[in-house]
Symmetry: D5
Subunit: 146 residues, 10 copies
């Protein structure tokens, strides 16, 4: 079973049971963002989490094995077209040099890791229109000199 | 005076005075992220803010006018090469479909605005290595049907 | 049932019944443009509209569910080749800076939303050759400063 | 004098006099959109209009000659990055197939001309946020068979 | 039946009967170039021509319907690789600015339509090697000012 | 003197004298298309033609030398954006496979040369709108087998 | 039978019989390079050669017909990745301007045809490592002036 | 002095003296192809050859130093547009898989080096049109297994 | 059996037996890196190694034949997206000019072969986090002059 | 002084003094690879190292400041063309999936850091041709789950 088949089964089961990533994350004690990324095949799950997810959904071992597999992370569109995803590309373009200035001012020469990294999505209610709050948290890695 | 010349003057002055975006933002009552993006030419400043920034730095009217100008936001690299900026591109690639799933589950069909949008960068101290915390806050815009 | 299968069924049924988007839109009280975009899988339909469309066409629940699904908007051609679609790309290229000048002069620094957005297509009869009139209507979103 | 120099002079003069495209168009009896596109160098002006524009702004013959010149229309970014312009690219991507369906249903097999073409931009006031209204008007050109 | 299936059937039937586009065009009173483009799926045929073609080849109604359908004109290669087709791309590159100069000198600011357009291919016998003569005939469309 | 400088001088002189490519070609006994391509730097001129052109325009030896130089033919835009030139790209895309079918049916397996090649542009007057007639004439080159 | 199926059958048969292009070319009186290119589907074979090849390999008429078909020459990778093929791309890049200088010095303004063209590959034994010798032979085509 | 300046001086001097690469190569005992590539800046010359070239042309030490410098080999066009150079790109595309088949059949799994590599260009006179003969000679490098 | 099928069988068998490339390499006396690359289809195996691998895994002749086949090395992503692989692309970008400087200083004008090449991956234990050590070893190839 | 000017000064001084990166690294107690990358502007130097380098070369404070500046790492060529650099791109393409397999087998799901990273280049003498040995050493970063 490859990651694509795994995702199809999980997404179908989730829909049939009327579950949300939010609810699943809460019940399983996992972040909904990480959980979704693992179920969409963009992160590998450690064995005990893979087991917990499949037991929760009533799915069998094959799915757990597929969840555990280390994914090859591939995306086809150099510039993403879906408007929701494009906006994050736009933020990287518009604010990239700003992020570089501000992060390196605070931390020195280096980067924010996208591997030793977590992310959360929250809803901030607002009478003028609710707001999406995305919080990214990555380890700072300084460049070496040697 | 165009945006590039404006940025050169501001960045030079800032360096000569040993200022940081953090310190400037605090003194001026502006977010360091927004302030940096305006000074780098990727956001226009409302007149009173443009005035405050140039007075603070002892720069003249031309710079304020350039800060006010509505920028044309251009980036040359479809895929950014600087490692710090690339990591944000990588996050958009790896986590794009996850963000779509989780945001649309919470808010319905629509997007997070990158225009009605604010962002902050914080440092989270950690004995295993400090962490960069980037918080994005954008208005949710639902798709229309008509 | 995915969006592609949904589109195939709807388009086939529409052709068999000799319907047009115009006629369908009129009978259903929906804009023909929005209706076509939803049936082509590029917009999600709210449940009551999805139901109305499928009942009108005598199609079953699966199609309604597929109409409701939030689409991932993907197009394959960075530069579209079909001459009708290319002309809109050409307009964005030739008139993009003009639209920026004129819109930002009228509204200030910001953009026209493509999400909080509607569009209509009309025919203007003309003895020298009929004319296509496309009316786009998008909410103005001002940039924030913070 | 090339188109770039012409644009620089016109834009500077316009700013010094505190003019807008709206005001200039009204005074000169020209559409502000067409006027801006000619002054930005993306359309050529017929001699009498070139003369009228330069007399209005108090500019000399060279500028009129440059306005008359037939432009070579070039844009550098296959996918535009400025958010305002990108949204029109996004509309061409998301709604391209829909426009094809609806236009060809109304007019037969053919295209909307981007040459025999006019465009207007209007502001529609709205308590929930003003709206940008862009009206495109292009001659329908049917494909030949021979 | 889609355009691809239609093309397969027509091309196979044509080969079995030992026909050429030349011969078919002559018998049917159609240009061989247009006829080939319609049968290859890059032009739609008006009903009476679709009928004439299918009757001539002894094919049934489905094929006629497919010939009538308005095609979405798609090509995959931004730069064509087949040497015969590439040479036309090369001509557009090498002679593009020349065509612009000469056409606009003769006609004013505007373009040659590729929609209101016909094309013929002839053989010019020559003892030093026969020559291909391609004649393109497109309506001149002047740019509007408004 | 390089080709760009040569073109600037020739084009300026031509404009000052109110000449056209048509008139120049007639007076010099050269095709206006070839003449324009040589003056724009996309074809080299044999010495006697280079001399004739410069004498006609009253230009000196340097220009003749530059006209003689064998050009390196470069174009920057993989897909041309100017609408007049794009239409020829579109023709290559839409009609490429058709040209392949019809040419190879008439001549066998091979190509139309773009080197042993001439081209003319004519105006065909038409009450419904004048028409541009472009005639390409290239030697047929059959593929070898060995 | 299309060219791909034809290639699969020929390559399989060749492998089963332990043949080489060298041996086949020698037995059939054809160049191994041309023979391989025809069998890989990148050149069409004249009927008598197509017949000779299929008889030699004991294959039937369909394969001969497929060998005769005029190929559409397509390659997918703008920059080839296979190291052997990339080296020829690298040679075109590194030595392209040199080839232009040297060929045009020897022959005048024009090109080496890749159509009226033959190529051979030889092995030159060398104690320091054998060497590949590729000999390309193309007709010189001078540019026309008209 | 950088490579570009070096090339400009050498090419100018060569033209003033009415020299050819052929003649220079003969006089200097170097291949005209290698000599041209070194003078165009795409190969570095060993000190004694750099000295010989500059003495022959009466140029000073700086030019010799520039000839010696190890070049960074850069070309801007992924697909070359000049017709002479494009034909070599076309050969790599059309005959790439054939070259792979034939070379690897003769030599085993490996490549022809483009570094341990020489090339000659010859003219083969032919009453039907002279022919360009390009001979490439590269060391065969077998893949390692370890 | 093609390389893809071969890889699927080998990877499945390896997983079922709980083997690692490390263990297999040790048992077979082959480098784990080379072994993995051959089994992934990016290197051909000499017959005795192909035999040893398949016997070790209990696979049949077809797999050995597929291992022996000379691979066409193809990768689809011009810029790789998987974060582990991207980092090597980033190293080539960031350190490419540095590697050129340092290697050519040590060896003269030439390159490191990627064909006459071996590579090893080691683990260096470190209390602050283990380190990956990749050792590349390629023959230096000097440029020729001729 | 920007990084480019800094590099020009350092490289010129280094050449005038007949220094090598090797010698400089040895004298300064720095890795020649890191030293070259800092002097080429692709790494920032800590103040004491910047000071040591400039004192060693007899350069002034501006150069030291430029060495300290945090670089924006930019490369223009998506696929590098210089043969020495291309070979590293080729290694990333050919061996990328192999490196992923072997590294993740040894370390678990994660990547080798290109930031917490060092690299050395050595010469391995060999009678059959000296060999380049490149040793990369990067911290392993495991993916988080949260």
């Amino acid at each position: 079973m490859d990651k694509q088949q795994m995702t199809d089964i999980i997404v179908t089961t989730k829909a049939e049971r009327g579950l949300t990533w939010e609810k699943m994350g809460e019940d399983l004690g996992m972040s909904p963002v990480w959980l979704a990324s693992a179920c969409l095949g963009m992160n590998g799950a450690p064995p005990e989490k893979a087991m917990a997810i499949t037991e929760y959904l009533g799915l069998d071992q094959d799915v757990a094995k597929a969840l555990e597999a280390f994914p090859t992370k591939v995306w086809d569109q150099t510039v993403p077209t879906d408007p929701l995803i494009y906006r994050f590309y736009e933020i990287a373009g518009v604010y990239g040099p700003t992020l570089k200035e501000v992060i390196q001012e605070k931390f020195g020469d280096g980067i924010m890791s996208a591997i030793d990294f977590t992310m959360e999505v929250d809803k901030q209610e607002d009478p003028k229109g609710d707001r999406v709050v995305v919080t990214m948290n990555g380890k700072f890695l300084p460049y070496k000199h040697w």
